[in-house]
Symmetry: C2
Amino acid sequence: MPHRMVYFFGEGSADGRGEMKNILGGKGANLAEMTNLGIPVPAGFTISTEVCTYYMDNDRTFPDGLKEGVESAIARVEEAMGMKFGDPENPLLFSVRSGARVSMPGMMDTVLNIGLSETTVKGLIEKTGNDRFVYDSYRRLIQMYADVVMGLDSEEFNKLLDARKKNKGVWHDTELSTEDLADLAEKYKVKVYELSGKDFPDNPMEQLWGAIRAVFDSWDTPRAQSYRKMNDIPEDWGTAVNVQAMVFGNMGEKSATGVAFTRDPATGEKVFYGEYLPNAQGEDVVAGVRTPRPINIAQKKKGDEASLEELMPETYHELESIRQNLERHYTDTQDIEFTIQNGKLWMLQTRTGKRTAAAAVRIAVEMEMEGLIDRKTALLRVEPDQIAQLLHKRLDPKASYSPITKGLPASPGAAVGQVVFTAEDAVNWTEEGKQTVLVREETSPEDIDGMNAAEGFLTARGGMTSHAAVVARGMGKCCIAGAGNVEIDYASRTFKVGNTTVEEGDWITLDGTTGEVILGQIPTVDSELSDNFLTLMGWADEFRQLSVRTNADTPNDAVRARDFGAEGIGLCRTEHMFFGDGRIKFMRAMIMAADEDERREWLEKLLPFQREDFLGIFKAMAGLPVTIRLLDPPLHEFVPQTHLEVEELASELGKDPELLKARAASLHEMNPMLGHRGCRLGISYPEVYEMQARAIFEAACELAGSGVEVKPEVMIPLVGEPKELSILRALVERVATQVMTEKGELVDYLVGTMIEIPRAALVAGEIAEHADFFSFGTNDLTQMTYGYSRDDAGVFLKEYLNKGILRKDPFQSLDQRGVGSLIKEAFEKGRLSNEDLHVGICGEHGGDPMSIDFCHHAGLDYVSCSPYRVPVARLAAAQAVLRARMRGLL
Amino acid sequence: MPHRMVYFFGEGSADGRGEMKNILGGKGANLAEMTNLGIPVPAGFTISTEVCTYYMDNDRTFPDGLKEGVESAIARVEEAMGMKFGDPENPLLFSVRSGARVSMPGMMDTVLNIGLSETTVKGLIEKTGNDRFVYDSYRRLIQMYADVVMGLDSEEFNKLLDARKKNKGVWHDTELSTEDLADLAEKYKVKVYELSGKDFPDNPMEQLWGAIRAVFDSWDTPRAQSYRKMNDIPEDWGTAVNVQAMVFGNMGEKSATGVAFTRDPATGEKVFYGEYLPNAQGEDVVAGVRTPRPINIAQKKKGDEASLEELMPETYHELESIRQNLERHYTDTQDIEFTIQNGKLWMLQTRTGKRTAAAAVRIAVEMEMEGLIDRKTALLRVEPDQIAQLLHKRLDPKASYSPITKGLPASPGAAVGQVVFTAEDAVNWTEEGKQTVLVREETSPEDIDGMNAAEGFLTARGGMTSHAAVVARGMGKCCIAGAGNVEIDYASRTFKVGNTTVEEGDWITLDGTTGEVILGQIPTVDSELSDNFLTLMGWADEFRQLSVRTNADTPNDAVRARDFGAEGIGLCRTEHMFFGDGRIKFMRAMIMAADEDERREWLEKLLPFQREDFLGIFKAMAGLPVTIRLLDPPLHEFVPQTHLEVEELASELGKDPELLKARAASLHEMNPMLGHRGCRLGISYPEVYEMQARAIFEAACELAGSGVEVKPEVMIPLVGEPKELSILRALVERVATQVMTEKGELVDYLVGTMIEIPRAALVAGEIAEHADFFSFGTNDLTQMTYGYSRDDAGVFLKEYLNKGILRKDPFQSLDQRGVGSLIKEAFEKGRLSNEDLHVGICGEHGGDPMSIDFCHHAGLDYVSCSPYRVPVARLAAAQAVLRARMRGLL
């Protein structure tokens, strides 16, 4: 064993330092750090992780000298605190906590009040004059000790407590009398003997060693082991033990306890923000039994009781100076806990303060301005995922409500509206001036008009990449998907959640950020892009290397995304376009056509619509590249589903309904995701892709003629075999040349493909010979690499995540080991065979920070994501660069 | 240019040799070879491929000296043949043919009769006394020359011919008179001038050079170019030109022409087998206008006219000795063409003779016995795919019939039976002693009893790996799948093909080897495993390194496969087992159960059945490994499909039908192939896998107790993430230990997984840590790697194959570039992390020779295929070794 096993801290100096996490654990290092900063921390000592390792390696025995080390540290603590451990008159109490390098569930948390015994209880009552508090502490110690040190069933003790409350006819622990508590402590001791055949140790030193041993033992519980296995934490790291003097904020009028933030965690404003309670314990502040008071005058509102600043001005100013000290030292907003014991201020904890998205942005930018941190650090301080919140309307943080159920938070924001169950109703009700929320089992492309009309969507099925979710994110609307408890009955126009029935027209509110569904109208607040936000985005752009594009199918989306900083369109899907008014009819007629000639007739009618689509998008994106994906979904998605609709269509087209039904049936597929779609359609019905190519180049030529810069990039979907691309590339080039010749204009354009089939990644070298660009379609690629249907996987994916089989939903965060290795392979093979190949990603992962980090390292040129994720992606892309630099990778 | 551009052959010696294919092309080398063997070949010369390359590189000009070379070669030919090119009295005629290193479609085939002109026509008539033949040759020369040399539209000449026939009121060319033909020749010449503005060259030398030039030009046609691109044939190989003297078998009574095989191509018997016609041209033998005569007495049947052996005994014996010479030289059965011109025998061609499967086996084995070839060569002489024919009943080769339609030849063999449209009818009719053929849109696992009863299956949808196809191959029954022209009307119990309506009870015959559907009962012949076959298989086993297992789900299949040489079961699917009588009810009840407890009750009832299954299979495979795949398909495949069935089940179980319907609906998936199946079920419902594991180990222990050697290998399907396997492996091990403790027996067993999800291949290293074996499930792996649904891809796969986008159906022959690269990656990563990993393949590809070759090279331990493919696999595995040795790879 190394010489030093026990590290004292207290009275302004510590044996350890903040960097010594390996030996002291996170908590111990932190306590040493604070002590060394001159912050008044209750004295204590840390037993090193190396002792834990020794203990494990030596049949759970302690190394020689540990006993002496601990005893001498206790003496130093006693001196520092002016109390004595086990002293009948002036007893010192200890808390004992575990503390590994990283915090770890499954390990022993805390045993408080170590040192209370039959004699010290009396001394403490004498000293504090608060017998209720002392007996409550005593019975808590016994229960906690029995549970975590002696391994007895906590439930047995709760039963005794419950019996007593029942007997007294009270509900809350706080309603029990001092006698009740003293009596309970005795009953607990009897129970300990009953259950274990051993007495609860009355000797403080015996209690302390029992607790220390329990901490070390807890390193090796099955739960802790399996956590380590899952998180690759080595067995031999071990845990440290922190033994610290307890202080009490409930020792009378000169005592108090409180929590505070060094800046406002809601707004980020640079004000000292906190609450306290005089003559109280820490848990009283949190428990809400007494109403906490504001910490300073600045925060006082009418009717508030005296602030700490008023009540104990000196202590407050000491606290305020500690606040500044901490911010300077940690260069970040701190969340602190303090206790004032008989007028003496003790800091119990400081940690990085959690904050809202708005606060995170403001704090980062202002701290940079203050010179506290540099620009890179400021960028790394904001969680990219968080800032999406800032772009959407959200529920008023001050509103209180209780949700009736929770689904997947599929698209952030808030929606308040009256329930409708069909897309048609959403359209009609909106035209009548109503606000609606569309509730469906799941949505389909046919619902697109209704989705445009509604405020938000709630679906009972489907996951984070279901149709509803994808469309919602594109539109920037709120969506809760896969709310499994929602049972919809279309016939009666109601849905049920448990016993609650919600009818058509009832108001509901959706919180797309949490997935909560709430009855009634909850107030919302609008988004606002603060100057700080824009500043931060500007900094991100200075650092990032990845381009950020957007997935946008309409001019509106394109404009919005451009406002958010999109540098082009990475994915413009053309299928939604065919569902619009006046189009779906032609589309269906085209699909139902008897032969190619008839198909061409109907395509002729669709051409002007499609040209208009592209005109709008090209204009909105003037000067920037626009990647247009040719028709992708299987044709049956456009086909009428019900007999009635088929008959309507038949009479419109003057065709035999039986013929149409037969055609519709022949388009049906067992596994449409693996079916006749994407470029497979382009091969079977080249006239469809010809029409689309013509529309693209007619629009491009028209704008080029009027001086607008257009940069079309034609993307062929679902390529798995190089010949598919070479054939369809030739088709696009032929049409492009034709149109440009007809119009007398020259437009530069690219032709490329999505890499979304595993085979495409495997033969990417050959595919790249025919491609100007690759765009990874990670939704489909994930689907096929895992063999998970996005439409169906919800059922077992949830289970897989719960059981820890998957750490993340691979449709949300790129699976780097599997899908990622295909991406790397495809990228490398592609670039090797075509060094000019431009490579991006346009799946949902293009907006996910971890996936963006991966894309940066993989060497991609750009990511493309839904408009509202563009700022997220800009920040994430910058962070990817900064993190790489920190790791010395760049 | 190299010195020699022209290679003469004739009179027993040639300038070239058989190995000079690169310079002489295949045909030229062959002619040189035959000449050098002392075989009487009409003299001629070959212009080398190097001249072609020069011609192409030099703006289609000929190198200096070519003219002289050709002229001197002509002189040698004239001398050899005793005739003169262009001579008015004794004219020599030439054929001109292309001949590259490999035969190549799109290139010029042949111009015959070069040298006929207005003067030589007269001389030839004089010489042969056969003016009709001469004029017919003349008009053919003009048409052929106009077409292939001058590039004129052949149709224009056919029109003239047709007009003449119409005018004369005759149907066949042969009915035209000499005058008609002479007149047509004149009209052709006028037409040539009309179409080209040029005269048909009357100068023989000009004709010859025109034809030579045309051969070279044909190297560069778009069709030839694209063929080369598709087959990776270099542009600079070029083609040779073969100019050869023509001989005529129609010069009178001492002339004749014929074709022969050195052994009987139908049976392989070592007899000289052939036909001839006196005073006839080669095409007369083939055209069937005159009935050919047997070549020798041995073949003469009652009523046959004199054989060649009788008519020209000396010539026959010369031919017979050439036959022996050729077999000795080529060490294989030859297919020869000969012409006797005025008593002189000329050999026109010899090539390897095509043969039936039975003949191939007999010839290979007998030639080895004769010492003509060694054992390795014998093994390489038989196409593995062919021998599958020998194992199945097949249509009597002597029967004649015309099919009404053709589908995919999904499982070989023949089936004759009365049409039924439901599995139930197949069962009932069979019980009444009838033979049935089951006709369905597609089959499903529910049809299993009916499939067992029927002789064969015809489906309108589905591909080579559809349910019907896979089950049929497993059962060794005949199946034609995806017969798209078959329109089934279940309601009226009829199907239609075009205008033909087939009713229930009508007899039809299926040829599973060709995919042909025939009306009525066609006679069939049984399979027989000849001694030669068994000898060949024994030789294969001497060489092969791959083990061959079988995919078998029943004891019957297992026994059959073992008879065919299977060395274990590589895939025993457990799902079919649940459809049996008395089981499906429990299975459904289990699926419909309200909770785990109820599920366990029903599983309890299934356990004895499942144990019986395994007892039977283990017994059949005593001493050999048996890989059992735990339940794989999505549960909804077992669920009743119609409302009526649901209600029946509900009343049986005493449950609310609405509840059952809701449960059935909740099991429905959009893309079941990517859904809740395989190990995902095992994770969600561990009790199901527990029951299966218990059944396996109870059966194994019972047999082990009675001295039967059992080697169970438990296979977890659809693993994509290592944790899935580690969890389920632990489950299997737990149950195994339990059962073995209960029974007091020890059974060695393995636990492994199928690699059938692309991700599994990508993270195979981690998966291998938990696996004793990998088995590549290439059906699913292909499905997901390509993103092709096996159930649906038929539609576009056919198109892809027709358009040459894919060369082979990847579900039939392993896609080596894509899927194969995943297999290699998985194999390498797997073995790296677990060097004892046993690796095989159990997809349909396990029975495909090319895929087996791949598996051998990839280093796999075994392939597993349906019972009837086991001999195919044994042979293919041996060939893989031999081919590798030949390439110096081993």
